[in-house]
């Protein structure tokens, strides 16, 4: 599957395309197939996202997971600062990243 990601223009937060909006949680990402160029163009023009792009991902029981390690680190946060990730209270949250 392919999912879309980028950064929020104002905050720089990593965001994921949900089908009609952008979420900070990769679990909300949807498969956009191959026809994503129009979405990227429209969303960037509307300043709802900065430098968006498509990545390969796979669907798991817990939702979409990026195929590449770099995007998995982006999805959760720095592996060396669990307190700064999206799930700071869950020590197991990063088990799928590396």
């Amino acid at each position: 599957m392919k999912i879309l990601t980028g950064n929020d223009l104002k905050t720089g937060d990593v965001t994921w395309w949900t089908g009609n909006d952008w979420s900070r949680h990769v679990e909300d990402a949807v498969d956009v197939g191959e026809n994503f160029e129009a979405i990227l163009h429209e969303e960037e023009a509307a300043r709802r996202v900065n430098v968006p792009y498509a990545i390969e991902a796979e669907m798991t029981e817990d939702g979409p997971r990026p195929a590449h390690i770099k995007d998995r680190v982006r999805a959760l946060g720095p592996t060396v600062r669990p307190d700064l990730t999206l799930k700071p209270a869950d020590p197991e949250a990063g088990n799928w990243v590396i």
Binding site: N7, R47, K70, V73, R74, T79, V80, R81
Partner: protein
């Protein structure tokens, strides 16, 4: 320390106002990202893995307590309560919001700081010896020359769009503590027949094509130093490659032309420049030098030191070095605690270091390229009180230049260019070698870790270097041996096939075990490696 005059302040304030307008236009949709990106990069604002990252310039690594407190304030108010001191003597913040960036730059400007030229193909922050102005072995203070170079290179219209970024280091001792020959231009202040001048090395660098800068001039009179640097830059700006960014650094030009031909062209340009009268006015050189006068040292300060506390004794032995003024020492605050992140400091630690500098070091600090902080002028009688306060705050690891005092780039945890994580390796190595007795037995051992071939973690210059690579989607680490960023500059060589994370740490242990077995007398790791050669180490690692 240098203090801004009205021109410095006006330039920085004007730039803040200009960037504020640019950010507003970007947020309003009047600028696209393609249009805005070069503008934000000119102000040190990158878009990294998790957010915007702001790199703040710390000129030649020198700052005062007021400036350090501002860095803590920015960490607290605009970031996530910490900053990361870099291998370029700067600081980076990893979680900046675009809408906050103009306010941050305004806050920095209020303490004579900025983020200008911390990105882009221009002359970057001038780096220098972290012990400048305090070292017992320097022949002159390199800071006035670093400051003159800073002023010359700031907004230099001819050098704002170079083929590639450009880094200059200035030192003034035979011991090189600034990786001088791994810069685009390395300048060593020297005396010749009683006159102060500079030796020029050009064309060094790390990155994907590491090279050691050759010496191209053994003496340039000090008052012509800027003109000579300008001649070096002019030849590069004219002939440096712009068709391929991987071949655009000056090291490639010097290598391809050959040292002799490059030097010939520089000398020709220099001869031309001398006819133009572009040397800085003598009065201006003197005005700048005045800012770097020695602080009011206590000439009666004693060299006596009570070393009865064994932990304090270890810290003094490892983390302090000789000062030019009797009764004083240069103290290094290690930002490399066990399991810590090299170079990271919380806002509370930043504030504390500012307080301690104010109390014990004439209000001065230095950031080192090894990602530590130096208090350059500490009275020996104050060292114990200083150490106690550092120890309480977790800032007293006694590991300067030991294996756990590693350099590490942000790596894949933060950097969009990285292929592998660097920080976890540094943390695990600090745990594996946590025993201080073992570290001291190994002695001076420069361990440097990069998460990609851009080499921000200086792996080419490590006695032991580690390069993280992407191997079919998983992290893999190459081990290198034999590098040095000191006056015996050398480039490390890859030992062989790479390892996973645990494997490379095991390999490091194998290598250090062999060193202890082969060591003769007082040899450092690098000395033994050079004497014994790579083959023996490869045999130990790979069998």
């Amino acid at each position: 320390m240098y203090q801004y005059d009205k021109y410095d302040q006006q330039m920085v304030d004007t730039r803040v106002a200009e960037f504020r307008d640019q950010v507003e236009r970007r947020l309003a949709g009047e600028l696209t990202e393609d249009q805005f990106k070069p503008l934000r990069l000119m102000n040190g604002l990158y878009l990294q893995l998790h957010a915007y990252m702001l790199r703040v310039a710390i000129p030649y690594g020198t700052l005062n307590s007021k400036q350090m407190r501002m860095l803590g304030h920015i960490a607290r108010k605009y970031d996530r309560d910490y900053g990361h001191f870099t291998t370029r003597q700067n600081i980076q913040y990893n979680w900046i919001k675009l809408e906050d960036a103009p306010d941050i730059l305004a806050d920095l400007a209020s303490v004579e700081m900025h983020a200008i030229q911390t990105s882009g193909n221009c002359i970057r922050n001038i780096s220098s010896d972290q012990y400048a102005g305090a070292a017992a072995d320097e022949i002159a203070d390199p800071r006035p020359w670093a400051e003159i170079l800073r002023q010359w290179s700031s907004f230099h219209p001819e050098f704002s769009y170079l083929p590639r970024k450009f880094k200059i280091a200035v030192i003034a001792s035979d011991e090189d503590r600034a990786a001088m020959r791994l810069h685009d231009i390395g300048i060593q202040l020297v005396h010749k027949d009683g006159e102060l001048g500079a030796k020029f090395y050009v064309g060094g660098g790390m990155g994907r094509t590491p090279m050691i800068a050759p010496e191209i001039r053994d003496f340039v009179p000090a008052d012509e130093l800027i003109s000579y640097a300008e001649a070096c830059l002019r030849v590069y700006n004219r002939y440096g490659r712009r068709d391929n960014k991987y071949k655009a650094r000056i090291k490639i030009l010097v290598h391809e032309l050959g040292k002799e031909e490059y030097t010939r062209q520089v000398e020709e340009e220099f001869a031309h420049m001398k006819t133009l009268g572009l040397n800085p006015p003598v009065e201006e050189l003197a005005r700048i030098a005045e800012y770097f006068a020695d602080p009011a040292f206590d000439i009666n300060a004693s060299d006596d030191l009570d070393l009865s506390d064994p932990d304090f004794n270890l810290w003094v032995d490892q983390n302090t070095v000789a000062h030019k003024q009797p009764g004083y020492a240069i103290a290094t605050i290690s930002l490399k605690p066990k399991s810590g992140i090299p170079g990271d400091a919380s806002s509370a630690q930043i504030d504390l270091m500012a307080d301690l500098a104010e109390q014990y070091s004439f209000d001065e600090m230095r950031v080192t390229h090894s990602q530590n902080i130096v208090l350059p002028h500490v009275k020996k009688s104050d060292l114990y009180a200083l150490w106690q306060k550092l120890d309480e705050a977790g800032l007293a690891p006694a590991n300067l230049d030991l294996i756990t005092d590693s350099i590490a780039c942000p790596g894949l945890d933060y950097c969009s260019l990285a292929n592998a994580r660097s920080i976890p390796l540094a943390q695990k190595i600090s745990e594996r070698f946590a025993d201080l007795g073992r570290q001291r037995e190994l002695g001076e051992l420069k361990l440097k870790i990069s998460g990609c071939i851009n080499a921000c973690g200086h792996h080419h210059a490590g006695h032991i270097g580690i390069l993280g690579v992407d191997r079919k989607g998983t992290e893999n680490y190459q081990l290198l041996l034999g590098g040095s960023a000191a006056e015996d500059t050398s480039l490390a060589k890859i030992t062989g096939p790479g390892f996973d994370e645990d494997g490379v740490i095991d390999a490091i242990e194998t290598v250090t075990d062999l060193y202890l077995k082969e060591r003769q007398e007082d040899e450092r790791f690098i000395d033994t490696y050079r004497r014994v050669g790579m083959a023996a180490f490869k045999e130990a690692i790979y069998g």
